[in-house]
Every structure is written in C-alpha cells, then in structure tokens.
C-alpha cells in the first residue's frame, strides 16, 4: 500500500529539509551533468550553418567504427557476465561458506587489489607475463612470437579489474538474505541446489542486475586497458574516440564516436530498471528473527567455492607481485638487480603529481560519499515530482564513457560563464559526478532491503525528514555511504579516462604520469607509481573499514565488518 504515496509539490513544500535537498541536487546536476552534455551535443551536431547530421552519418558508415562498436558490445557483455559471476562466487563464499576471519580477510584483500589499483596495472602485469618476453610465455614455456594483445587479454584484464565491483554490490545483499529463508526452504524438502536456484538467486536478482550494469558500463567506459592490450586487431569505441582526439585533434569526430557509445549504455540502464524495478525485496524489518548458521550449502560445495576463490586470488596476487618486483629492479626481464631508484624518481620529479592527486582525492571523497547517499536516499525513499528524471540524470556521467565526459567538461568549462578549466574544481567535480553513482546504487540496493516502517516510526515520533535521515537512515545505510566514499577516493587516485583531458600545468595526476611513463617505456617508475597508489588506497580503505566497524551497522550485518577489506 505504501507504494501509492502521491508525489505532490505541496507535500514537498511542507518539508523544508526535503525541498532544500532536492533543489540543491538539481542545481548540481544541471551544472555538472546537463550543461556540459548540452555543450558537447552542440559541438557534435552544429556547425556554422546550423544543425547537421553529417559527422554522425559519416561515422556510422565507417567500417572501422562499426567493428569498434560491435567489439565494444561483445567486450562489455563478456566482462559484465564473467565479472558478475566471479563477484557472486566471491560474495557467496564470503557470506555462506563459513570461512574463518583470516580466510575472509585474505579473499577480501585479493579481490579488492584490482579495484584499488591505477589503470594499466593488470595490463602491465599481463604484458610482463604473456608478452613476447613474458615471464610465463617466454621464460617458463619458452614460447616466442606470442601476442598478449587482443580480445582475450583485454577481457581477462577488465574482468579481473572490475569484478570486485560486483563483489561489493552482491555481498551485502547476500548477507542481508535471512538464512532462515533458506532454512525454511530446506525444511520444506528442497534440495540444496533447488533452494539455491529458487530462493537465494531470485532474492539476489536486484544485486545481479546492479552488478551487471555497473560492470557493463565500466567496461564500455574503460579505455586504459584496451589502449594497452587491445591492439590493432581489436579496436573498441573509447580508444578509437580517444585516438581521434589526441592523435588527429578531431574533437568533433571523437565526440560523435563516443556519442555512439551512449546507445548501448542507455539501453542496458533502461533494461535493468524495467526488470528490477517491478519487484520489491524487503528482508530487513524491525522484527529481528533468530539468525542461524546456514546449512544451505553442502560442505563439498563450500570447499569447491573456496578453492575457486583461492585460485582467482592467487592469479591476482601473482600479477601484483610481478608489479612490485618490476618497481624494485632496474629493468624487469633485462636487468633484475635491486634498486630503489624508481621510487626516488616518483618522490622527486613525480612529487607534484602525488601531491595534486592526494589533494583532489581528499576533497572529492567526502563530497562524493555524501552526494551518493543523499541522491540514493531521495530516489529510493522520497516521492517528489521529477524523481525518475533525477535518477536518470544522476546516472548520466557514470554511464557515459570517460572520454565523452572529459571532452564535455573541457568544452563547457573552458569559457565564461563557468570557466573552470585548469583549476582543481573541475577535476573534483568530474570525479564526484562520475563515480558517486556507485554509492547511489549501493544506497538504493540497501534501502530496498530496509523496511519503510522504520522511517515512518521515526517520523511519527516527531523527527523531520532531515533528522530521520541523520538518526535512522544514515546509520543503517552506512555501509553504502562508506562504499561510496571508498569508491570516489579510489577512483580519484586511479582514474584517467575523463580527467586526462582536464589536467593542466598547475594540477596533474599520478595516473597521467603513469601513462606518460609507459609511452616513454619507463616501466620502472610506472610500476613504482602504481605500487604507491595501491598502498595509499589500501591505507585509506582500511581506515574507512575501521570506522565502519565502530559504527556497528546491523542492517548489513557481518558484511559491514570487512566490507571494504581488512
């Protein structure tokens, strides 16, 4: 019955906190999402003579572009499916296999490594391993003439890089499914496999859809991995668009090309909404049932899950060991003598990039975390005119490939009335509006499992919407808040696709320096930078986890404890 609350401005106007929040979010969305996008569309579709479709049509009939389009779709679908499966495997193992704390921490750490790494790291490791002079292909197998480039390596690298997103999305959802439900099905005589199919998996459906969408969009938007690994045989749209701009200085052509990418991104988004939107999944209520240790997974299945996760974890750790070694030797594969020279380099001539990146991340993190939770809450819980539009607009910068956002910001904020190019604000804004949707989605997913009556209870006890949000909702969605916080920080440290267009002489980024190092074939400093980023991100994320433990958010149950890793 609660679903029928009508959206009226009168209701909103009676609630000053709600009205303020809605207006503030809309102003920000207009300025940092719609305004740049409008500028970009204008640049793509208008010339001196007015509206024209010529660049778009020219782009569509280009056979190279068509190949890139289909390659992008195949890659994103493969990464979405495999990454979701891998994330589910890890989440199920963490939640249901009954592992000890130490094993959980180990799996968490391994699974989260790729997420906290700068781009290129998996790519570098794959080249170190499988390249012409790779550790595995050349040194161990003695193969020559192998290629580490193309679909398989790109897909593997992206899956390993992005599956932790699925893990983070699915784990709290699985944790929130009351084992009693599975117990009950078990007691009804269902086999374990049947229960898994008919109870566990359907309850996790919103999580699957969210995870797939996030991975699909991440793969579509990723250009760092294909830039290194895809090679000439497997062109994808983001790299084509990027090269169009940096190589040919064809802004119009690049913009048009990346706009084509919008079609699949929007399609997946709408599909997900139509599919998940109709169902409600309330499994957390104020009534707290007896929790039982689940017996819904057979011991041999548990062992199999754990073995699979450990295998994946070992591959990841092997990759990162390679990276660490490469940062500590003179030239990996050629001169393997120990040196700290690469670290000297990054802390002297690389220092400005480190300082700038840390400042930007420190500013963006709290802003992005709060923004994500606020918008997620408004979308999931409040009813106001334009709610769906807000949800859609808030997702735009995430769904768009980074290149398109970067170019849009560059064009829009280069000139008055809002001249931000060259400053720090443009980079921070780019990160906040591009990476908070993870926090928004996490908030929505968590709120879908928290019964509305908790907020109604607070309201009936005299708390206004702002106070209810602060006292009840926020503590219950703290896991989502810190997930949002963490993701914005991690991305601020590791992203490149959009911000490569926004760096300037006064503000630059570590990731851009890594790319420069790689193009100069200075793999040592690139590896050292990567190791540094990973260490910083891990320290901050560990700090966030510690805060989360102290907050004791029971809505996410035990998931909160090691939500972001140990």
């Amino acid at each position: 019955m609660a679903a029928g609350q009508t959206a009226s401005w009168r209701r909103v106007a009676a609630d000053p906190a709600l009205l303020t929040a809605i207006l503030a979010v809309w102003i920000l969305l207009l300025l940092f999402v719609l305004y740049p996008l409008a500028h970009l569309l204008e640049r793509a579709f208008f010339d001196e003579s007015g509206f024209t479709l010529e660049p778009l049509l020219a782009s569509l009939v280009d056979s190279g572009h068509q190949a890139a389009f289909f390659n992008s779709l195949i890659l994103a679908t493969a990464v979405g499916v495999l990454g979701t499966a891998l994330g589910f495997l890890f989440a199920l193992t963490a939640v249901r296999a009954g592992l000890s704390r130490h094993w959980l921490t180990f799996l968490d750490a391994a699974a989260l490594l790729p997420l906290v790494s700068p781009p290129f790291t998996t790519s570098i490791a794959i080249i170190f391993s499988f390249g012409p002079r790779g550790f595995i292909t050349h040194d161990l197998l003695g193969l020559t003439n192998v290629s580490a480039y193309g679909f398989w390596s790109t897909m593997s690298a992206e899956t390993l890089t992005y599956f932790p997103i699925a893990y983070l999305t699915l784990r709290p959802i699985l944790a929130a499914i009351d084992p009693n439900l599975e117990e009950m099905a078990f007691s009804l005589g269902g086999s374990r496999w049947r229960i898994f199919r008919t109870v566990t998996v359907p309850l996790a459906v919103p999580g699957f859809a969210n995870a797939f969408l996030l991975l699909f969009a991440a793969s579509l938007a990723d250009f760092a991995t294909p830039l290194i690994l895809a090679g000439n045989s497997f062109p994808v749209l983001p790299t084509q668009a990027y090269l169009q701009i940096t190589g040919l200085f064809d802004f119009k052509g690049g913009a048009v090309l990346s706009l084509i990418l919008l079609v699949p991104a929007v399609a997946v988004f709408l599909l997900q909404r139509a599919w998940v939107g109709r169902r409600t999944y309330v499994t957390v209520t104020g009534k707290v049932g007896q929790r039982s240790r689940s017996r819904a997974i057979a011991p041999w299945a548990s062992a199999l899950l754990v073995a699979a996760c450990v295998a994946v974890a070992v591959i990841i750790i092997y990759f990162y060991a390679l990276l660490l070694i490469a940062s500590l030797v003179v030239a990996f594969g050629a001169n393997n003598s120990f040196t700290l020279h690469h670290y000297e380099v990054i802390f002297t001539e690389g220092l400005p990039a480190i300082r700038d990146t840390l400042i930007i991340a420190a500013i963006g993190m709290p802003l992005g975390g709060f923004y994500g939770v606020l918008v997620g809450y408004l979308i999931a819980r409040r009813n106001f005119p334009g709610r769906r539009a807000m949800e859609l607009v808030a997702m735009i910068n995430y769904a768009l490939p980074g290149t398109i956002v970067g170019i849009a910001y560059l064009i829009a904020f280069n000139d008055p009335p809002v001249a931000l190019t060259g400053g720090v604000l443009i980079i921070v804004a780019c990160y906040v509006f591009r990476y908070s949707p993870t926090g928004i989605r996490a908030t929505v997913a968590l709120l879908q499992q928290i019964d509305r009556s908790l907020e109604e209870a607070s309201s009936s006890l005299g708390a206004g919407s702002g106070e209810t949000f602060r006292r009840i909702t926020l503590p219950l969605i703290a896991p989502a808040f810190f997930a949002g916080l963490g993701v914005v920080f991690i991305r601020s440290m590791t992203a490149i696709s959009a911000t490569i267009f926004l760096v300037s002489i006064s503000w630059t980024l570590i990731t851009v320096r890594i790319l420069e190092n790689m193009t100069e074939m200075a793999l040592g400093p690139a590896a050292a930078f990567s190791v540094f980023v990973i260490v910083v991100v891990f320290i901050v994320v560990a700090g966030l986890s510690a805060i989360l433990v102290r907050l004791r958010a029971p809505a996410a149950g035990a998931a909160a404890r090691s939500f972001l890793g140990g």
Binding site: M1, A2, G4, Q5, T6, S8, R10, R11, A14, D15, V284, T285, G286, K287, V288, R291, D451, S453, L454, E456, A457, S458, S459, S460, L461, G462, A463, G464, S465, E467, T468, R471, I472, P475, L476, R552, A553, P554, A555
Partner: protein
C-alpha cells in the same frame, strides 16, 4: 459525550492499479473518535483499514476529504507534526539502537535533557514490564518483548493519539490474548485516544469501545461489539463478526413468520407474503425432541469442542449451524438422529 479527538470527513484514497486502472482503497470514509476512546477498524485484508490508519498517521495523504486531530485540520500536516504514537505490525524497532535509545527516540527528537529522558524512559519501561531491558539490543528480545518496546516507544512522548496497525499478528495465540489485555489496560490507564486496526474479530471485540467494520474501502457499520453481534446491518457484518446462519423467512402475518415450515411469533413490520433475510446465531437455536413439529431437522455432523458442541443440522432446504452448551447435563445428539428445532423471537434479527 466526550469531545471528538479524531475526525475523518469523507476521506478517499485512490491507487493506480495496473489492470483495473484507478481504484479506491478508501472511499468517502467519515469517522469520529471520542477523547479517550479505543476504536477498532475491523475488516478483511484489502478493505482499506490500514490505509485509513496510515492517513490518520500522515504516512499517506487523502485524495479527498479532511482529517482533524484535536480540532485542528491536519490533512496536509506531516506525520512528525501530528503528535501520534504508532505501533507497527513488524514493530519497526530501530535495529541499531538499544531498547533504551529506541524508547528515548521521540524525547531526543524533542530535545529533552538527559535526566528527564532517563526518568521518562525508565517509567514507561516499568509500565510495560521491561524495567531491566534498557541496555538490550532489539534482536535479543522475543517477539512479545519487541512488541512491548514498540508500545513503550509510542506512548513515552505522550502523544495526542495512539495508532495500532495489526500489532499482534506476529505473535502466537496465547501471547496475543495476553498482549491485547495489556494494551487495553495501558490505554485505559493513560486514557489516550486510540485507533486500532485488526482483521481478527475476536481481538476487536475484546479490546474495543467501538468497532467500525470496513469492506471494500467503506465503513459498513459502526457500533459497540454487542450491537454488531446482535444487530448486524448487513450479511457481510453478520458473517464477519462471529458465526452465523442467514435464513430466508416468509412473512405470514403482521406478527408471524415462517422459516422452513416452522412458524415463529415475530413482528417484522413487513408486508405479508414478503421474504426476509434472518440472522440467527448458532447458540440461539435450541435442539430438542421433535414432538409433533410439522418439520423436523436431522443431525448431519457433530463436533465436540469442550465448552460447546457444534452441530450441522439439515432443516428443509437449509443447513443450520447450531451450538449447544448444555451437554454436561444432557446426552449429546447422534448423527442421523431426527431432532426438533426451536427458534426464539429474541434470537432472530431481520436484515434490512
């Protein structure tokens, strides 16, 4: 008569139904609850009783009509400014707060100082019999204890009115009886105006000063439990409250009717020859030896329930439910046995 505390004036609530289009969940409901009264909204699921309650609380806004509490129009006032205590079906205890903090919540929101809060919370926990539970977490409590915390939380800030939405439906039968007595005792002690929603007619009859029966979004009858039981306004009410027989009767004269060939002295005020619907409760029919009755009944089934014995009796074209409570002094009747059926004028109610 006590002053009116809650007044609903022709409120309606519509929902968009995917198949049926726009449907009324609540249609032109008017209701007045007196100060200190406990009124129950009773009806089957989907009858609009919870929606009505949620509109009083402010969780839903009526599409038409007005709601006033204590003489003030609150139709468009937010829930947090209405001064209502609400007890939810699932209790809705804040899982991240202790029992003490759950109960203290409303007072903290009001900005009361620490000692005053501690005193008020201590008093109300004492009142619901949970004096030493203040440091427990909700998940450590049993269902009945959670329910009492929810109750304490709803009354501690001395709200204008108290609303219950099927508060006992998650408890087992014995606890349900115990809790409803506690709720009633507490409500009388603090004298708070209360609206109580349930689909359980026994619960409604046990707890209420007055009951409003709802069906398909509308209030079909209001009154005390015995009014609804003895003088139901419709077949729906008669069947929903208690068990009942609805029998066709033919008016044979100004002072006499005929049921399945049996004549009973009853002034119906209807025209001779007209057919009326008669409500007869099972315990108001008497079974005895068939001493020359023009029509006799036959026992079709018997169920011994301890305090009473239920029979199904065929009489002409009707099957009657009959309850007998006197088998401690008379032998029970056997299935298949012919039996005389007696109706008493006082036990017959003619439906309009």
């Amino acid at each position: 008569m006590a002053p009116i505390s809650i007044q609903l004036d022709r409120i309606s609530k519509r929902f968009d139904h995917t198949v049926k289009g726009e449907v009324y969940a609540v249609r032109e409901v008017s209701l007045a609850v007196e100060q200190g009264e406990l009124l129950t909204l009773l009806g089957p699921s989907g009858c609009g009783k919870s929606t009505t309650l949620r509109m009083i609380a402010g969780f839903e806004e009526p599409d038409e009509g007005t709601i006033s509490i204590a003489g003030k129009d609150v139709t468009h006032v937010l829930p947090n400014r209405r001064g209502i205590g609400f007890v939810f079906q699932n209790y809705a205890l804040f899982p991240h707060l202790s029992v003490f903090e759950n109960v203290a919540y409303g007072l903290r929101v009001q900005g009361r100082d620490g000692p005053a809060i501690a005193r008020a919370v201590g008093d109300v926990l004492e009142l619901v019999g949970l004096a030493h539970y203040d440091r427990q977490q909700p998940h450590q409590l049993s269902g009945g204890e959670q329910q009492r915390v929810a109750l304490a939380r709803a009354v501690v800030f001395q709200p204008e009115v108290l609303l219950f939405d099927e508060p006992l439906s998650n408890l087992d039968a014995k606890l349900r009886v115990e809790m409803r007595e506690q709720i009633r005792a507490l409500q009388k002690r603090i004298g708070i105006t209360t609206v109580y929603v349930t689909h359980d007619q026994e619960e409604a009859m046990a707890i209420s000063d007055r009951i409003a029966v709802m069906d398909r979004g509308e209030i079909v009858q209001q009154g005390s439990a015995d009014q609804l039981y003895y003088r139901p306004a419709s077949e729906f009410v008669a069947r929903f409250i208690g068990r009942t027989n609805i029998l066709p009767g033919r008016v044979v004269s100004a002072a006499e009717i005929e049921i399945e060939g049996l004549r009973i002295t009853l002034a119906t005020g209807r025209a001779t020859g007209e057919t009326v619907q008669l409500v007869v409760r099972p315990e108001m029919i008497e079974l005895g030896p068939s001493a020359g009755d023009p029509v006799e009944g036959r026992i079709a089934a018997r169920t011994f329930l301890g305090e009473k014995t239920d029979y199904l009796v065929t009489l002409g074209g009707s099957t009657l439910q009959v309850s007998a409570t006197d088998h401690y002094r008379r032998p029970p009747l056997d299935v298949g046995q012919p039996v005389g059926v007696r109706f008493h004028p006082e036990g017959l109610h003619v439906l309009a």
